[in-house]
Symmetry: C2
Subunit: 179 residues, 2 copies
């Protein structure tokens, strides 16, 4: 059974890096997985959407529907998406199915993300040239009960990947054995 | 290399039946394929869209983006979509990539589709209770140069599937051998 691993966190928290590394490790175990990266999808499937409250929800909805399709086609999905609102992530979970959904909070604190600022977006947001920027001018709601919390500011990428892999493989094992 | 087979035709022309049968035959050859059915997607990914000119185009765009994602993930797509406008199908081809796209016109004539009317939609459209219904109150533009034309009103499903399979396997063979 193919499942979705949904990585949520602030901009610059390291979601995409973690997603790519998790996916590579899963592919190496012979499983079919694919990364759905929020930034990439905003150039394609979600290119018509902005960052208003309703557009953010629609963005999550479409990505969740796509994860579901991939899962149905036998491909696991690793989604990396800011997805800042709890109710929107709940919607994703409902669409994909609670038994096929793992929520991983990439919990890099705001000041670390802002210090890194790999794309210079925080700086632009602080200067006011990016409105509704999560963490600066739009809220991020931490998941109340994620399947896993990783701390890329305290551990190496490899350690975070190990934690995610342990979760995923255990989840799949339980699903297969219907425990 | 995973590709997309795009079935276009009037409502009730037999696209979904053909798509399911083509996909089943491809799966039996050990290849990974998945059906993207327009009617099903309108309950999920495209549930917010209607049948206006711009919504039809957005519908085609989203399905094409999803086909592209599936293809990138190594899964072939068999899309069954009325997709009545030539420019919209051209958009799909551009998104998916001309070297990964086969257009199949399911050319059941209108009077046959209307006689069959498997879901009673033509009847309702003629009574005026479904506006902008393709073939009745909204146009269908036949593809000017499809990869294949099948005629389910003149041949059996099995014969149409054979024709599609010959096209697909030949196309894949040429792609693999870069002829």
């Amino acid at each position: 059974m193919a499942i979705t691993i949904w990585l949520t966190g602030l901009p610059g928290s390291g979601k995409s890096t973690l997603a790519r590394n998790v996916c590579a490790r899963l592919l190496a175990t012979g499983q079919r997985y694919w990364v759905l990266d929020g930034d990439e999808l905003r150039k394609g499937l979600c290119a018509d959407l902005g960052f208003s409250r309703s557009d953010r929800r629609e963005n999550v909805r479409r990505v969740a529907e796509t994860c579901k399709l991939l899962n149905e086609a036998g491909v696991g999905a690793v989604a990396a998406l800011i997805s800042p609102f709890t109710t929107d992530r709940e919607l994703a979970k409902d669409i994909i199915g609670r038994n096929s959904f793992l929520e991983v909070w990439v919990a890099t604190p705001l000041h670390v993300c802002e210090q890194r600022d790999p794309k210079g977006l925080y700086q632009r947001a602080r200067q006011g040239s990016i409105p509704e920027f999560t963490g600066v001018s739009s809220p991020y709601e931490p998941p109340p009960s994620p399947s896993l919390v990783v701390h890329p500011h305290l551990a190496s990428v490899e350690e975070c990947v190990d934690e995610a892999l342990a979760l995923i493989l255990g989840f799949e094992w339980r699903a297969c054995n219907m425990v």
